[in-house]
Symmetry: C2
Subunit: 470 residues, 2 copies
């Protein structure tokens, strides 16, 4: 059962502009905004998509925005840490809403903080063409993941406006809430809900973060979910968008190594995540002799190594598995761990093969618990998503755009998941990748050149134009 | 080179008493103190140690003190967490100083917060007989470890006073600073310094905790080390005490299983601790393929399992090794760990055999780093202490006392280390163990019955009396 589209269209663009003037001292994003040039004057010219191949990206502004957004971080530069609904996240969101306003977009937000900036087309009753990504950042990561697809999308709108383009179908830029699972262990929280996950809407009523703060309390802190409301208000009907395109850094080394400007994504690998807890008796590290121990920490160490083993047993280069979180309790040098907690991420382009790995990990966890006489107190598959295929129509628009812009491109799969994985459930979907330094991501060394970003923005702008006129 | 004994004898007992009266609202320990009975009246009677066998322990007060001290904790009951120089530690120290004052002891503190309560003997020029233990508690531990040897020592003084005993050599109760290594990774910090560790005094100038707070700043917060002073002021000369005796729960199951009242410790196992750091390239858990990874977390998991392997290879029941701390950075489910940190504890009654285990762990760390192409950025042996033997004279006094009190006893070794390990460097040393539930320690289930504690206090009181008159 899908709920009808009951989105509250909060056209707050005028209040965004007035707040810039009236509250400039109170809003940390405003001062930065005032330094920008090129905003606020959007004179329309008549134009078709064909004339767009000469369009120009304001590289200097875009780079400055990327740098400025990275300062809304809980860890020092060059690292970026921006956790869902934190103070820094709230400031960053305000920064994006202000930028959307400056670009003439009508801004609305839903109950979990997905942010939508719409440029009304001249046939506004047609389903819009959407683009967007996320701005949350895992601890000690970089400034390009997600951000390029949000700031780049707003700049693509600016490019189209400057070129005089007029959309037929409306164009919409989306900032998705919590693509990263950092705070509540749920990846792509915003896009999953947009795609109508009733399971998630229900689960969020009883979801808490590591500090035991409920999802609703955290959301309220950031100004969302104010009335403990039913999150089905966030759901979008299938067909709400005629197409969705996401611009993103590759997060892999292929484009850079092969010297190719643009990756056209044909499929997104199927991700799954698992939480595991072991419990033992703990005790004093000096006094409890080895035969009397049931060490929850060593059980966790064994399971971490078995994840690697089972992934390698698949003998497929496309299967990956990672233990990114391993925590011991009480966490003292002279105390045998009485509890351990692991979070495991595994992905594959082949869903069945990935599910075999998950089952092997489960069997290993049971065997380790038995051998070590510890309790396997939790083995929870948090999510186990299928892969997604890009739509032929969107692939064609992206390929044509690359060709018209004289940019080299290749078809590829995305091993990282993205909000596009879930948008594909309700809309024809496609993704544009750009090269990034050594494929680095999720660390401070993450980097994409402004030239590569410019190429991506151009392909995105032209793709949006084509899909809008389609 | 040892520094002379330049201890500042701060006889603050009168100020302790006055503060109880004047500042009762400001001092959270004072209100608790006022509820006690039996303090403040210490009428002397002539008496010899022989008449002490009928002495009585105020079990009710002692149990109440143990319970009250456990409330100075950063985690909820029944767990206890009391970290060096934290607010709760400062309150707990004040509570102990007040108790010492009520028991008529002259209280002084040294530059790192070792606290000494002295009962002057009638030959005060003779080296004193000392007893004591610690009150810091690792995260989520129990309320008896260390505490029994501090509150029990003060009650032993009360027992002797009530019986009319007069010490020849002075008796001194010591609260040692930071027996647990929780905050700065250094175990027995206070007793190591008392024993004259110049290496440690130097190292503390550049020691920081996990929040990057320096040892000196932390100490100043608690009211110590105010002048960035040379910590050699803490050193005691060999011969400062004629004997040192520590009362402690066994932290092992032997006494309880065998139904024996008192353990007489003949030796303390040799402890060592090691810090290890691995570094890899990290990266995105979806995008970096398995052959391109160098996962610092999996290196840590392998090393943790190799610690267990090398300990078991010794084929000695007395060899133990534990990984109590294993931390991953950045610690996100979708991020390959780029850094890992382990803290390893290993002990043995045979120092040579323990050192072989340490060397094997080091070789494993090097091999794992090579195989996994991670960097072994640190392998630091934080301490590598020899074992300690109890003094024959102290063993005899403890055995005679047990016999005279009609309490069963057995000679045993201590597998856990204690401040006694370091006091043995400057004084004849002995330890009294009492049974504890299932041998549990360093967890909330830690428990010793008040009957067993009473027995320990009696043996301690009589042992102190014998050594004082010796």
């Amino acid at each position: 059962m899908r709920f009808p589209n009951v989105l509250r269209l909060l056209l707050i663009v005028s209040s965004v502009f007035s707040s810039v003037v009236v509250h400039s001292d109170e809003d940390p994003t405003t001062k930065i905004m005032e330094g920008f040039s090129g905003y606020g004057s959007h004179e329309s010219q008549s134009c078709t998509s064909n004339s767009l191949s000469s369009m120009s990206v304001d590289k200097e502004s875009l780079q400055r925005q990327i740098d400025e957004l990275s300062t809304f971080s809980d860890t020092p530069a060059p690292s970026v840490t921006r956790i869902l609904y934190s103070e820094k996240d709230v400031h960053a969101r305000r920064y994006i809403k202000n930028l959307m306003g400056f670009s003439g977009l009508s801004v609305r937000e839903d109950a979990v903080g997905n942010i939508f900036g719409r440029w009304e087309g001249y046939e506004p009753e047609l389903p819009a063409v959407a683009t967007g990504s996320h701005i949350d950042a895992i601890p000690y990561s970089g400034k390009y993941d997600g951000v390029v697809g949000v700031l780049g999308a707003i700049e693509a709108i600016n490019v189209l406006r400057r070129s005089g383009f007029k959309p037929k179908k409306s164009l919409e830029v989306i900032l998705f809430t919590s693509e990263e699972p950092t705070r509540f262990g749920i990846s792509c929280l915003g896009s999953r809900l947009l795609a109508g996950s009733e399971e998630l809407a229900k689960a969020l009523k009883e979801t808490f973060d590591g500090q035991n703060i409920s999802f609703y309390d955290a959301a309220r802190y950031a100004g969302y979910a104010n009335d403990q409301e039913d999150l089905s208000s966030v759901f979008l009907k299938k067909g709400s968008y005629s197409a969705f395109v996401e611009l993103h850094i590759e997060q892999g080394p292929i484009l850079e190594e092969e010297g190719i400007s643009v990756g056209i994504v044909t499929a997104i690998a199927a991700p799954a995540s698992i939480k595991v807890d072991f419990e033992g008796n703990g005790g004093h590290a000096g006094a409890v002799l080895m035969p009397n121990r049931n060490d929850a920490g060593l059980a966790a160490a064994e399971l971490a190594l078995s994840v690697e083993k089972h992934v390698l047993e698949s003998r497929s280069i496309d299967t990956v598995g990672t233990v990114g979180i391993l925590e011991l309790h009480p966490g003292a040098i002279n105390s045998i761990p009485s509890k351990s907690h692991l979070e495991i991420d595994t992905r594959d382009i082949d869903e069945k093969r990935r599910n075999i790995v998950i089952e092997k990990i489960h069997q290993s966890a049971i065997a380790i618990a038995k051998n070590r006489k510890v309790k396997l107190s939790e083995f929870k598959i948090v999510n186990q998503d299928p892969p997604a295929l890009s739509a032929e129509s969107v692939i064609k628009a992206m390929e044509d755009s690359s060709r018209e812009l004289n940019l080299t491109h290749k078809l590829m799969i995305s091993r990282a998941y993205h909000d596009s994985l879930f948008m594909a459930r309700i809309s024809p979907m496609g993704m544009i990748f750009i090269p990034c330094y050594k494929g680095y991501s999720h660390k401070p060394e993450e980097y994409a050149s402004i030239k590569d970003i410019e190429n991506g923005v151009k392909v995105l702008a032209l793709t949006l134009a084509k899909l809008s006129l389609d």
